[in-house]
């Protein structure tokens, strides 16, 4: 019995050792992202899978594998399992939360993997080799600047914010900085949890409370959908602009069509995961130096450049 077990164990070890050895030339890039539980993360999953497919086809020496996880603890387990079963040459990670993922990613780094962090930073920036993120402050700031300019510097605003997080705080701060010095007044600001239904209700209540609203800003496009429906139902004509943010395809399509109420959009594109995967691939396939930080701008999307941010096949 014991001998059989030993032999079995020996064979297993040999097989495990042979696996990576036979593919020694091939570099593995693991991508760990949150599971698709709302529009934006669905976009992340879509673009990560697209990048994996394109890179696997274009560079036979690279293998990109994508793993999605529904929670921070599941993500920790996923990257531990990945690194236990094979050698990871690189890990591209969009962490669920900074606190919980910092130590596990550090462990992987210590095994010699190239670490690319996307969107949410880890608590220790020394872990990352490459950092790719959008600019949440600019999402709020550029929207505010547009409103200040188009409304001649004065008017009444209502704002819908998302879930209490750093992302939400940064967007609101950028917006408040953007209207500073003008006579634009924020009448009210409340949480609607980045949810269309809650935004619909909140907008109905804003409309009941304030007889004169000149513009609405929902700091995410899911909420903007609810806002637009509430405005439509009320039949009110005082609202000149209703703007969102993030780059949902339905809203980008409105911009392309020259919608009067939603003529612009600010991107916080889920496609940034694709940028990160391609840059990581360039490190191996192109021998191109990529260590550093890349902050994607959040320029105003107008009719002129909307096509660049439009992904008709993406769920977001």
């Amino acid at each position: 019995m014991l001998r059989n077990a030993l032999i079995a164990a020996g064979v297993t070890t040999a097989l495990l050792a042979a696996g990576p050895a036979s593919a020694a030339e091939k570099k593995t890039i693991a991508v760990s992202i949150p599971a698709a539980d709302h529009g934006w993360t669905a976009g992340v999953v879509y673009h990560a899978n697209a990048a994996a497919k394109e890179i696997n086809k274009a560079f036979p020496d690279l293998e990109v594998i994508v793993k999605t996880s529904p929670s921070a603890s599941a993500q920790v387990s996923a990257i531990e399992d990945l690194s236990a079963t094979r050698k990871l040459d690189a890990l591209v990670i969009l962490p669920h939360s900074s606190e919980e993922l910092t130590t596990p990613v550090k462990t992987i780094k210590e095994k010699g993997s190239f670490i690319t962090v996307v969107d949410r930073g880890l608590n220790d920036p020394n872990i990352q080799d490459l950092y790719v993120a959008g600019d949440n402050i600019a999402v709020g700031f550029n929207t505010a600047k547009f409103l200040v300019e188009k409304m001649g510097g004065k008017g009444n605003l209502v704002v819908l914010r998302g879930i209490p997080t750093v992302i939400d705080d940064e967007r609101i701060k950028g917006f408040q900085d953007g209207i500073k010095g003008s006579d634009l007044k924020i009448l009210d600001i409340q949480y609607a949890n980045w949810n269309s239904d809650e935004a619909f209700k909140l907008m109905q209540d804003y409309l009941a409370k304030y007889p004169q609203i000149d513009a609405v800003w929902a700091n995410d496009d899911d909420m903007l959908l609810g806002v637009l429906e509430a405005i439509k139902q009320s039949g009110r004509k005082d609202i000149k602009f209703a703007l969102g943010g993030n780059g949902m395809k339905e809203i980008i399509e409105k911009v392309m069509a020259g919608d009067a109420m939603t003529p612009v959009e600010t991107p916080y594109p889920p496609s940034m995961i694709k940028t990160a995967i391609y840059l990581t691939a360039a490190h191996f396939a192109g021998h191109a130096p990529v260590r550093g930080s890349l902050k994607l701008d959040a320029p105003l999307i107008t009719k002129a450049n909307a096509a660049e941010y439009h992904f008709p096949d993406s769920p977001f």
């Binding site: 993360t41 009210d188 949480y191 269309s196």
Partner: protein, 330 residues
């Protein structure tokens, strides 16, 4: 046990509302008065119509939950189920729209109803035939329904076909003689439910099973059948709510109906139904759903609650509403 003794005589005069059952309505009246004092706009016809219409989804689902809870069960899956039914319905309508035009809408409604009843039957049989605690069984199906809607939408949004949008819109936004359609639908559902719960043999059995399962069984009641039926009624109610919900935003997403189950249970309990079973109050449930929506509305219309503290104040008001309800019973 006291509930068991008290239940049958009350069921005799179920249509009239006794003083002991007035609690939720007193709480509602108090809330309306406070709302008016805080902001007179609160009582504007427009605001009242908006808020009561909004409460229709939770209200209709909660009427179904009144059956499940008074029969001693619990259904945590209703929010996910609503999202799932919404998704199925939209997909069916979009699939049928090119060939049958607006006839796709009644087809979608029928499919929604069948799906809802099937989902309820699934919950019911897992609980009764599978003999699994309702809490665990519906926690399981909650995850299943939520995952299915996420899968159907690829995590994004599935929107209703543009050609159907305008034809279907009146089901949420339309009105008959000034009364919004969702309010009429929930009134109709409540009337039927009140009749079934208070005036039929099934209703009395439902409450008896919830009050004491063993006594009900010795009395010759098929406990499993009664409980399963309660879950089926719940499924049908969720489907009716979904039918009213779809035209509002015209889309289903993985966050549709998130945490509705908690609002539903809160509405049922504020309404005077006993959470451990044995007592069901349909009209109280309706009042409970309206109270919840009024509280949220008041938070926005008043100016003295910080946006960071809204949830805490809502919690306090719910507890106070429960206390009013309790005290009026003595």
């Amino acid at each position: 046990m006291a509930d068991l003794a008290a239940a049958p005589p009350r069921a005799q005069h179920g249509w009239s509302i006794g003083w002991g059952d007035a609690g939720p309505f007193l709480a509602l009246a108090a809330l309306v008065l406070i709302g008016f004092l805080i902001n007179p706009d609160f009582l504007s016809a427009n605001n009242i119509a908006n808020v009561v219409t909004r409460s229709a989804f939770i209200g209709i689902i909660a009427i179904g939950a009144t059956f499940v809870i008074s029969s001693g069960g619990l259904d945590l899956s209703v929010g996910s189920m609503a999202a799932f039914i919404t998704g199925v319905m939209i997909l069916v309508m979009n699939w049928a729209a090119p060939s049958v035009g607006t006839a796709a809408i009644p087809l979608g409604m029928a499919v929604a109803l069948v799906t809802g009843i099937a989902c309820g039957l699934l919950n019911g049989t897992i609980v009764t035939i599978g003999r699994i605690e309702p809490f665990i069984a519906t926690l399981g199906t909650m995850g299943i329904f939520r995952a299915l809607i996420t899968y159907m939408t690829d995590g994004g949004t599935v929107a209703i076909d543009r050609s159907l949008r305008d034809a279907y819109r009146p089901v949420y936004f339309g009105d008959v003689l000034g009364v919004p359609i969702p309010i009429l639908v929930s009134l109709a559902v409540a009337l039927v439910a009140a009749y079934v719960l208070y005036r039929t043999r099934y209703g009395r059995r439902c409450v008896a099973v919830g009050a004491n399962e063993d006594v009900a069984r010795y009395s010759g009641i098929s406990v499993a059948r009664v409980r399963t039926m309660a879950f089926v009624i719940q499924g049908a109610c969720v489907a009716i709510a979904a039918i009213c919900y779809v035209p509002r935003l015209g889309a289903a997403t993985p966050t549709t109906g998130l945490l509705w189950e908690l609002q539903v249970i809160t509405a049922v309990v504020i309404g005077g139904t006993a959470l451990r079973g044995g007592r069901g109050r349909v009209w109280g449930t309706v009042a409970g759903a309206v109270i919840l929506e009024f509280i949220a509305n008041l938070m926005v219309l008043s100016d003295f609650v910080s946006e960071y503290l809204v949830a805490a104040v809502q919690g306090v008001i719910i507890i106070i509403a429960m206390l009013i309800q309790r005290m009026s019973k003595r």
